[in-house]
Every structure is written in C-alpha cells, then in structure tokens.
C-alpha cells in the first residue's frame, strides 16, 4: 500500500462540492436492455385512487401523480421498462435507473449520478499532517479529479424505497392497461 497526502483547492469546495456521474439516461437504457431495438416514452398519470394503491403497495407515499416510463421494445414486442428517478438522502441527491421486466420483476438497478450537498470536507490540517509521505505537485479538484470518498455515511435506503415505489407504479399502470 502506498499513501500520500495531496494538496487540494479549497476554493473548489463550495457547499455542493460533490458530483459523480456514472451513466447518462441513454447509456443506462441500452445497458439495462441491450436486446432492445427501440425505447418509447410513456407518460403515466394517476388519479387519487391509483395513487393510494401505489402508496399501499410500496409502503411509502406515491409522491407524484405523473411518471415517465421508457418502454423497451424489440421488434415492437415489449421487453420491459426503465424508470429514472431522483431520491434525496440526508445530504445527497441520487439519480438512479430501475429496469423492470414485463413479468414485473426487478432486473437491475444502476446509479446514474450522485451529488453531495454537504461541503466543508477539508477542515483539519493538523489531522492531515499525521499522514506520512511526500506531497505531490498539482492541486486536485473535488468532483473533477477526485471521485472517491472514504468515510461517507452513504446510505442506499432512499434508493431502496424509491425502487419499491417504482415497482408499485408499474404494477398499477399495468393493471390499468396503460402499459403492456
């Protein structure tokens, strides 16, 4: 193991210091349904009764009456659905995509991006001095050059809740015949 202390641009740490992008929406779609030859947008709109049902199935409120679903198709036959959603954690905003098959089962979950709204990471120069080794030249920018954080209390609880809600949204939409 080799460890070195790095200088950091303090000005590069505003309140919303952290952003890591993993996939674009389009990349996620083709990754989640590589067999698909077309994706069609279906805009769902639920009434109050349906929203209640979604809430009951998911165990959390439906949150929105409108949902956009991408229908993955191959030769006009449906393969499944991709829903892209945002959840807010304690300090972070997570964008993720869920792929659900036409059988209603979750196929895969991919994180699209992760943004931290909590800054001020470099406050303890005395602590940093404990790290032995030579400082390297060239300051780094958080988010640009640094994509990894150690000691994050990152939780995926909100993603898990969000996925449950999306599964319920798709179930209710399919029951009503809006989705194949």
């Amino acid at each position: 193991v080799r460890i070195e202390v790095l200088p950091i641009v303090l000005g590069a740490l505003p309140a919303s210091a952290w952003a890591v992008d993993y996939l674009t929406a389009q990349q996620a779609e083709s990754l989640l349904f590589p067999q698909a030859d077309a994706f069609k947008t279906v805009n769902l709109r639920f009434d109050n009764t349906q929203l209640q049902e979604i809430g009951q199935r998911a165990g959390i409120p439906a949150r929105s009456a409108q949902w956009g679903v991408r229908l993955a198709q191959r030769a006009d036959a449906p393969l499944g659905y991709v829903v892209i959603d945002n959840v807010i954690g304690k300090f972070e905003l997570i964008t993720y995509a869920v792929a659900v098959g036409t059988d209603g089962a979750i196929r895969q979950i991919e994180i699209l991006s992760y943004r931290e709204s909590h800054g001020g990471e470099v406050r303890l120069p005395a602590w940093r001095k404990q790290f032995v080794g030579k400082t390297v030249a060239g300051p780094l920018r958080v988010g640009d050059d640094i994509a990894n954080i150690s000691g994050a209390t990152l939780s995926c609880t909100h993603v898990t809740d969000g996925v449950r809600r999306i599964v319920a949204v798709l179930q209710v939409a399919r029951a009503s015949g809006v989705l194949p």
Binding site: R2, V5, L6, I8, E121, R128, N148, L154
Partner: protein
C-alpha cells in the same frame, strides 16, 4: 493526473458500490468485467446481509446450538478470517459482538459451519463490505482488467499501477496506490447509524467514541475490520496493524 476512467455504481450492502476501471481498448471486456464484479458484490450481499432472512448470517442467528449448516464458501472464509482477527485483537474485533461465551462458531469444512453457542448472534457488518470489495477486485483482475478501484460506501481498494486520489471525509485528500482504505466514523451521541464497534465485545458495554478512524491495509477486509480494533483500542500502534503492515489514523 488526468486519466480516462469508466464508472458504474449500484446499490448493494446497504450502500452504493462504485467501480472505476481504466478505460480499455476493448469496451466489451470492461462491460463483462463490470457485470462479473457486481455479481460478486451481489453474492456477498445475498450470503452475508443480516437483513435478508435467507442469508447465511440470518440462518446462523436462528440456528440452534450444535446445528451444522451449509454456507456460501465465501461466508466460511469471512468467518475464518473473523475468528483469526478476534484472537489476534484480544477480542476487540468480534463478529458475535460479545454474545458468545467463547467461540460462536466453528468450521466443519469449506462449506459448513457449526454454531457452538446457543446465544451467539453474528453480524458481519464490520467486515463484509471490505470482503465484497476484495472479491470484486479479484473478479476484475480475473477478467483481464489492469487498473481499477472498487468503493463500497467508503471501504475501497485500488489495484494496478498509478495513484487514485481519495477524499477522506472531514480530513483531506490522499493518494492511494495498490491497497485498501477504510474509514469508520463514530460520533458520540449523534451517530446516524447503528454502530457495532460502539459495543465492547468482552463486556457488552456500549462505548462512546467521538472519533473517526482511517486504516490502510493490503486488502479491504482487513482495513474494514481493523477500523473497529483501532476504535476500541484507541491506539494507532496496535500490534495487529504492524502484523498486517497496515497504517491507521485517528482524529
């Protein structure tokens, strides 16, 4: 320091696991490696999550004393490592969190474990994430990936040539080359999450620790587990660290 990397992330092990690979000439190789590495993470999650009722851990906790049952061989390896670390740390690292009189379990063979203490309840939360990172790294190398980094919510490991800049929360930036880094934060009285290491295994007493511990080690399971040893011993010069050629920082 500029480099081309490709990144993917999925929610596993109660956190977000991200994998970064040096951009490959062969995109199909990277795609295959990502799939295989996330499958390894999923396997650890499925076997070792305390929340999943079908996991090896949940089945162990429900089992009667003397029960022998089949486990994922990876679970058996983690339990073996945990038993070694428990002895070497004088009980500071203990996946049974003090619920067992002596040994909570024993290894029957590479696929079977015996429960030795009726009251024993295990939780692999202090080592499984690190182990998952190690398995993912091994899988990536197996797939022919030369350079990459796997990060499971702050327990991370880099492999291959070159340095990876890492931000250690509340502290600063480090460059990591060929090795693992884990950080545990214990904020006395305001810990936002359940915290195993706040329990002193020998006495079951809850310890108030208001510190953050970062450990560097050759692999991530060790780094992960050692943060708990350092937290409870309060020293960065613990003999176990020297044994594994690790480094630790307290703040």
């Amino acid at each position: 320091m500029t480099r081309a990397v490709i990144r993917r992330a999925q929610p596993w092990l109660g956190t977000i696991v991200s994998i970064e690979l040096a951009e490959d000439d062969d995109p199909a190789r990277s795609a295959h490696a990502f799939t295989r590495a996330f499958a390894a993470i999923e396997r650890v999650h499925t076997a070792m999550s305390a929340q999943l009722p079908t996991s090896d851990v949940a089945r162990f906790n429900r089992a009667r004393e003397g029960a022998v049952f089949a486990c994922d061989p990876w679970t058996v390896r983690v339990l073996q490592l945990a038993a070694r670390l428990r002895r070497a740390s004088g009980g500071l690292f203990d996946v049974a969190l003090g619920t067992a009189r002596a040994s909570a379990y024993g290894m029957v063979d590479p696929r079977h474990v015996i429960k030795l203490d009726r009251k024993a309840q295990i939780d692999l939360g202090g080592i499984a994430k690190g182990y998952a990172v190690d398995r993912a790294v091994a899988t990536l190398r197996c797939c022919g990936i030369k350079r990459g980094l796997v990060n499971a919510g702050g327990d991370l490991r880099a492999f291959g040539p070159g340095r990876w800049p890492i931000l250690v929360r509340g502290a600063g930036a480090l460059a990591l080359e060929r090795g693992a880094l884990a950080t545990s934060q214990y904020l006395a009285g305001r810990s936002p999450y359940r915290n195993d290491a706040l329990i002193t295994p020998a006495t079951g007493a809850v310890r108030e620790i208001d510190r953050a511990i970062t450990v560097a080690a050759r692999n991530c399971a060790l780094a992960d587990a050692l943060t708990k040893v350092i937290a409870l011993s309060g020293t960065t010069r613990h003999s176990l660290l020297r044994e594994v050629q690790g480094q630790a920082w307290l703040r």
